[in-house]
């Protein structure tokens, strides 16, 4: 199929003044056909089964404001307002489970709907159509980019926030026996977490009436003097509530670090591993664990 010469896209990029003029024309076209194009777009979104988490009214309402922002970005050539709107929109729709592909999908749909309306309007004048598209394409692409990037950034922010929340929740205080608590610490201890950890432990000591606490730090990768001091404080605060603390799971590296930096851990009872710590705690509490066969022989 041979392509007539006047239908090929112009190889010369249009001059900035020309682009501005064409964009103005484009914007007024989009303003005039606002209602019809908007409806068409919303229809296409529903048909493509995008944004299934939202009702049709919501889709239409969002479509309207996206459309207006889109036209405005085309008109002014600035994307700050659109960026802010995209962030705001993402904030609202991310909790409802809207996926990245849906957001990219609807923006591309709008691009398509608008392009088609341009085809319909200028189908008699292909040279004009080409120039309009030359002006339209870069701006439209940039808009699509802005919205998609805004959405992804917002999503990443939410993920970071959730990670933080998980980290905060990750200090369980467990009761293994009457009056014996275990506090496994995993990950990085910063001042904030150390404080929270101590508060949680002290509360647990009171509610469970604990006498012995085993703090297991096998999962702590590194320790500096700050962290060590927090640990000492936790031990002392627990003692004020009448509970003995046994620290277990100090790795060889941490032991070396602590001795090298000269942290005074003489007040702390330390046992090699969690098993040893629990055995020591049971001894302190007066428990004696016997194998069934052993005790059976003795009683027999």
């Amino acid at each position: 199929m041979a392509t007539p010469k006047d239908r090929t896209p112009s190889t010369q990029p249009p001059s900035p003044e020309e682009t501005a003029g064409l964009l103005r024309e484009l914007v007024s076209h989009l303003r005039q056909n606002r209602t019809q194009l908007r409806e068409e777009w919303a229809r296409r979104i529903t048909r493509a089964q995008l944004l299934t988490a939202m009702t049709e009214e919501e889709i239409f309402a969002e479509a309207t404001s996206v459309y207006d922002n889109y036209v405005e970005a085309l008109e002014t050539g600035t994307f700050e307002a659109l960026q802010a709107y995209a962030r705001n929109l993402s904030e609202r729709i991310i909790p409802r489970g809207v996926e990245t592909h849906e957001v990219v999908g609807i923006v591309l749909l709008l691009r398509d709907v608008l392009a088609r309306s341009l085809f319909a309007k200028y189908h008699e004048d292909f040279t004009k159509l080409n120039r309009i598209l030359d002006a339209y394409e870069p701006a439209a692409n940039r808009i699509a980019n802005t919205v998609a990037v805004g959405f992804v950034q917002e999503r990443e922010r939410v993920i970071r926030q959730q990670q933080e929340a998980i980290r905060e929740l990750s200090t369980p205080v467990l009761q293994v026996r009457e009056r014996l608590l275990i506090l496994p610490i995993i990950g990085v201890i910063d001042p904030q977490r150390a404080r929270q950890l101590t508060e949680q432990l002290l509360r647990a000591i009171r509610t469970n009436r604990a006498k012995v606490v085993v703090i297991d730090i096998t999962g702590v990768a590194a320790m500096d003097s700050n962290v060590a001091n927090h640990l000492v404080q936790t031990v002392e605060a627990s003692r004020l509530l009448g509970a003995t603390v046994i620290v277990t799971g100090l790795s060889p590296e941490i032991a070396q670090t602590l001795v090298t930096i000269g942290v005074d851990l003489s007040e702390m009872a330390t046992v090699g591993d969690l098993q040893g710590g629990i055995e020591e705690a049971e001894r302190l509490l007066g428990y004696k664990v016997l194998e069934l066969s052993d005790s059976g022989q003795k009683t027999a």
């Binding site: 508060e199 002290l202 000591i205 009171r206 009436r209 605060a237 627990s238 004020l240 009448g242």
Partner: protein, 123 residues
């Protein structure tokens, strides 16, 4: 406000009801040390459950009471330090070294009983 001191068997129980001034604390110290001899007490329990602040003077007085009572032949145990108070004390470096502590009155009594048993076992 004067702190009531109750006698329960061989033990004396001082139950602090409200925030104490320095003078109150000194009076508590004196009357406790005096009564240890008067009642021939073997143990002293100071209940600080009602205190939501513990300053350096209070901590020093409690430590002094412990050491003085020990010289008079009685073990002392401090009971009922609130978690928040414990946290604040540790941050301020007031750690009551060498002083026995227990969760509450019941635990304190159990501690003193255990101490007494140990003493009998040793004898």
């Amino acid at each position: 406000m004067e702190v009531p001191i109750l006698k329960q068997g061989h033990y004396l129980i001082a139950s602090i009801q409200s925030a104490l001034t320095d003078a109150d604390l000194m009076q508590l110290r004196e009357s406790l040390v005096a009564r240890v001899g008067k009642f021939r007490a073997r143990g002293v329990i100071v209940d600080v459950t009602a205190l939501d602040v513990m300053d350096s003077f209070a901590v020093r007085t409690l430590r002094d009471i412990t050491h003085m009572a020990r010289l008079r032949g009685a073990e002392t145990v401090i009971v009922g330090i609130q978690p928040e108070v414990a946290f604040a004390m540790v941050q301020l470096g007031l750690t009551l070294k060498g002083v026995a502590t227990a969760l509450d009155l019941e635990e304190g009594l159990a501690f003193l009983d255990a101490q007494a048993r140990e003493r009998i076992d040793r004898a």
